[in-house]
Subunit: 337 residues, 2 copies
């Protein structure tokens, strides 16, 4: 289909979208030097600060979740590209100083570029004596089995994980404690994606993935990486049931467990479809004996105009639920008191 | 392109999407008989209640804005179709009773079907002695001049108008006063839409509008009604500047006036594009001597997988801004304290 989008010079995409984000949310975040997106809450008190990094082109993630009660700093790369270590170190230094000694949790999605940047950054941070712990999100069940965790990609789970970590930080937990809370959530979360139509790279016009007019693909990654689940298009209920059951199996969910359920639209999916699929996933989980105690249906982490969604499930206990329900005020996630 | 969506039986779309909305937002709304979507805040105290109606297929609008601090009841029709007067009367009766004598503001978008239903409903409400005032939103500048106001279609403006009216109601204003506040906003708001790609009707598969691969259309209505502004695709900045200037002219905006600025994505528009266009509109208004005091960039009222956006501007004074900033907690708009 080629590239038919409201853009200007493709090389300015990231700069311009971040300007728009800052101008539309002056009470929540500011755009600092080197495109760092910084919460207005930065340095409000001695507490752990939360930093994340990632390419743009996935709006609203991740910079749209900077603000009081969630990310303190995001480090955006260019479209689908990790930022370099120097700007990440700058963010970690700023957050570490703002934390007044409490330290920094560095949330990284498991993608090759992000990981290379994060690992180099962590080495530099150690040399500089910064108090930083890294946590890697890797919950895509499509491309590796659970016992090969390190090969799993990070999908939408980075956002609720960061939210929970941020609430724990505001609650006065130490860096080790914040890390432990986040890891508890991390270990018991899983995502599976499905796509009906792929997207184009907004700078190059390259087609990220191609699906036939009657095809869908379960397991498509964030940049069109195949998951091997290509089939004829199924109904919403059939598709959602297959995906929910796959997540139940991967997480070994038992009857009686309380869950978070998220439908993350991939970009061009209608709200109508997302709600219909949420309904089915909810019913499958209910029939399995589970209670959905936390929900979110929206475009959270997108891939341009991809049609499809990510189905996310995580196990919840009282502590995680309290942190999920703690107030936050960001451009694209707000929890009221 | 035909219809390639995650749905089940097309006749169940509305029922299923409303189920999903209710299941994902149990603290905010419930799904009552006859598909009425009802705020958990209904009848909380003696105050004006706010009711609106409209077809589904435009998610999250309008039912996604039911909840404490915004709509008390929405009356959904089927896809792109107005509900019938009987169910609207049921909603008005329920809201009137819950208002404990304070009365009901009935927010109606100016579209033929919605208006026919609303007018018949108002006649019945009068016969029954219900305390209801109707307000019609009609802010699309593309299809009629300002002095022919009654021919203008209602677009995204119904949502901020309902938000402001609801806050005035919670503030204890009388029905006449709530109406006056809403009318002040209504008279000085305007929207212009642009589309790059049309959509399909999710029940029939009918193509709602067709645009050539190199075409865009300024002024496209909510159901593909043409606005006469078809041209070759322009850049984001060129398009936004044309649209912002048209709104400035229509509203006779003077330097120094404070404004609300909204970019409403039409369905398949990327967050990246919306933010880039917001940025340009903001800069055009800034250069014109105006201050943007209220912002919103999101998918609010969509038309399935349409690619494009609505640019909305309204004049703001201190009262309107206070009501806009008052807390609310709905599925797709939340204002924190």
């Amino acid at each position: 289909m080629g590239m038919k989008k409201f853009i200007n010079d493709p090389k300015d995409l990231t700069k311009e979208l971040l300007e728009g984000l800052a101008l539309s949310n002056p009470s929540r975040l500011t755009l600092a030097e080197n495109k760092l997106v910084v919460s207005t809450n930065l340095g409000d008190k001695k507490r752990v600060h939360i930093v994340s990094l990632g390419g743009t082109g996935h709006e609203p993630a991740i910079s749209g979740f900077v603000g009081p009660g969630l990310l303190d700093i995001s480090v955006p790369g260019d479209i689908f590209a990790a930022p370099g270590p120097p700007v990440c170190i700058e963010a970690l230094k700023m957050a570490n100083e703002a934390s007044q000694g409490a330290g920094v949790l560095f949330v990284v999605l498991n993608h090759a570029g992000d990981m290379m940047t994060a690992n180099m950054t962590m080495e530099m941070a150690e040399d500089m004596g910064l108090n930083v712990k890294k946590i890697v999100t890797q919950e895509d069940i499509s491309n590796a089995p659970r016992d090969n965790w390190d090969d799993r990609r990070g999908l939408v789970g980075c956002v609720p994980l960061s939210k929970i970590a941020a609430a724990a930080a505001l609650d006065g937990k130490s860096l080790d404690e914040v890390y432990d809370v986040a890891m508890k959530f991390n270990k018991d979360m899983a995502t599976l994606a499905v796509a009906l139509r792929g997207a184009t790279h907004p700078q190059t016009g390259d087609v990220i993935s191609v699906l036939g007019e009657d095809e869908m693909e379960i397991g498509m990654g964030q940049h069109g990486e195949g998951g091997g689940g290509r089939s004829k298009v199924k109904t919403a209920d059939e598709t959602t049931e297959i995906m929910t059951n796959a997540l139940i199996k991967d997480l070994s969910i038992k009857s009686g467990e309380k869950l978070m359920l998220i439908i993350n639209g991939s970009g061009a999916t209608t709200g109508m479809e997302m709600l219909i699929c949420f309904r089915k996933a909810y019913k499958v989980l209910e029939a399995h004996g589970n209670e959905v105690v936390a929900s979110w249906v929206d475009e959270i982490l997108t891939v341009q105009e991809t049609a499809g969604f990510q189905l996310f499930i995580a196990k919840m206990d009282e502590e995680l639920l309290n942190y999920w329900n703690a107030p936050c005020d960001t451009p694209y996630l707000r929890v009221t008191k």
